[in-house]
Amino acid sequence: MKISVFSGIVKYFQDVYQGFRSVMNSYSAALPYVLGMGELRKEVTEQYPDPISSKTPDDLPPRSRGILFNDIERCTGCRECKQVCPSRAIEIETEIRPDTNQVWVSTFNIDMAKCVLCGLCVDACLPNSLVHTRQYIQSAYNLSELMMSFGKGPITPKQRVNWEIARRIKENDEVLI
């Protein structure tokens, strides 16, 4: 279908006008940002870390999953977290305390380099000792710095001696009483 010359010229001018108008449209959509008009057009840059304008760890929502922390006094060494971890990041070793027959968690290491912060261990923790903090800064120069150790360390012979002495004192007290 041959387009007549006249309608071709008209279409040409229409195209040029459309192009000009759409560029002006885009321009006027973006220009208010330069002039800073209105609440919706403020700058959204947040300087970090100096000065910190927002999003300190306290500003994060309460459920934010940050670096893990284990309250070792409440930990019972049940190993539920270790079983459920998909990245095998948790290492646990326990001993039995000779005087009270309680569990002494000697090693509790979480390798944050492997941890994906999924939260399954926190869900699975029975005594609720393992929690997420809201800290998110994990940069380190060596991988070994990323290993978080919460364990109390192995029971030393001196500690066994002290506990034995304490047990005998308690027994003697009970006998006397």
Binding site: V16, V23, S26, Y33, V34, V44, T45
Partner: protein, 358 residues
């Protein structure tokens, strides 16, 4: 205004009388001064302003760390770029395009219209000389692109050549249009027909307004200024001539881009936007009082201010409009800019004819 009232006293002859050395030494010294004190600082200021403007468009803050509100950012960038090393040895093709760029830079500095006092070359063909610089820049970029060993480089080189051809035509026709009004192609005659107020600028005439758009558009295509910069933009596959540049070569390239843009804007301001004529008739007052140094500095500052404003407006168009494909860009030049510039030329001729004979 007639030509006699504007006398362009060449500063070379002034200083020659005072210093007594040969004119080429004075010219060399003057050129280096212009280059070092005018072009480089304007480049630094312009890069900072453009980054701040771009950040404003993006709802960001922009450079804000180097110095108060980031004023020393251009210095920091230059220092960083100069410290980078290049990884390959220089080949003869690299020397070739660097030679072209250097030729383009140092020669055209002489032709730039920077006020009625700082005008070195005021021949009857001054308006066409910057074309030489722009075409040499384009040729150099093409050689550089073809000398890369990657497919995007070759494409970039060929695209730059195609764009240069396409963009030169409407720009030349626009210059013809202005020459008609000015009665000549020398800078002083173009400045003579304009006044200080915007209503007496060249663009006040509707045909000249069309010619202005054709000139600026043609220049953007010829020199590769975003958003019409397909051959020279960063992303590799888009035609990236510069994809393997970094360090000193990269800073040379970026500076050449700025230089082309600056040159074109200065010429556009001279031809269309009132040149260096100071407002409130200061030009005549100072010339009568023979205070040439003050006159020269004020005119220089005034023309630089107008140039920077024009460059900011053009670069803000780049922020909102996406990049066109290379055949869209050349289509735009051949099918839209060229007919309109011819229309402007013919229309203005008819206008003059009607005014003369009626």
């Amino acid at each position: 205004m007639n030509l006699e009232s504007i006398s362009t006293i060449s500063w070379i002859s002034l200083m020659q009388d005072q210093l007594g050395t040969s004119s080429w030494r004075i010219a060399l010294f003057g050129l280096s001064l212009i280059y070092g004190l005018i072009i480089l600082p304007t480049g630094a200021v312009m890069s900072y302003l453009e980054r701040k403007l771009r950040a404003d468009f993006h709802a960001r803050i922009g450079p804000s760390r180097a110095g108060h509100a980031g004023i020393f950012q251009p210095l920091a960038d230059t220092l960083k770029l100069l410290q980078k090393e290049k990884y390959s040895r220089s080949t003869w093709t690299e020397m070739l395009w660097i030679g072209f760029y250097t030729m383009a830079f140092y020669s055209i500095v002489a032709v730039m219209p920077l006020g009625s006092i700082a005008l070195l070359v005021n021949t009857d063909m001054s308006a066409f000389l910057p074309f030489w610089a722009a075409l040499v820049l384009a040729f150099g970029t093409m050689v550089f692109g073809l000398s890369q060993d990657s497919v995007p480089g070759w494409f970039g080189g060929v695209r730059v050549a195609a764009q240069a051809l396409a963009g030169a035509f409407p720009a030349i026709v626009a210059i013809l249009c202005v020459g008609l009004q000015a009665g000549g192609f020398s800078w002083s005659s173009m400045a003579a027909v304009q006044g200080a107020s915007p209503f007496s600028w060249t663009v006040a005439n509707p045909f000249e307004l069309i010619a202005f758009f054709a000139f600026v558009g043609g220049g953007m295509i010829l020199l590769g200024i975003p958003p019409l910069d397909t051959g020279l933009s960063m992303p590799d596959i888009h035609g990236g001539v510069i994809s393997s540049l970094y360090g000193k070569r990269y800073s040379l390239f970026r500076f050449s881009r700025f230089y082309g843009f600056f040159l074109w804007s200065v010429i556009a301001v001279t031809m269309f936007l009132g040149a260096w004529i100071l407002p409130f008739g200061l030009s005549e007052i100072l010339r009568l009082q023979e205070r040439f140094i003050l006159l020269g500095s004020l005119e220089l500052l005034w023309i630089l201010l107008k140039t920077v404003l024009l460059m900011l407006v053009v670069s803000s168009v780049a922020q909102v409009v996406p990049r066109g494909r290379v055949d869209h860009v050349t289509d735009f030049s051949w099918k839209v800019l060229s007919p309109f510039s011819l229309l402007a030329l013919i229309g203005y001729t008819v206008w003059i004819g009607l005014r003369t004979f009626l």
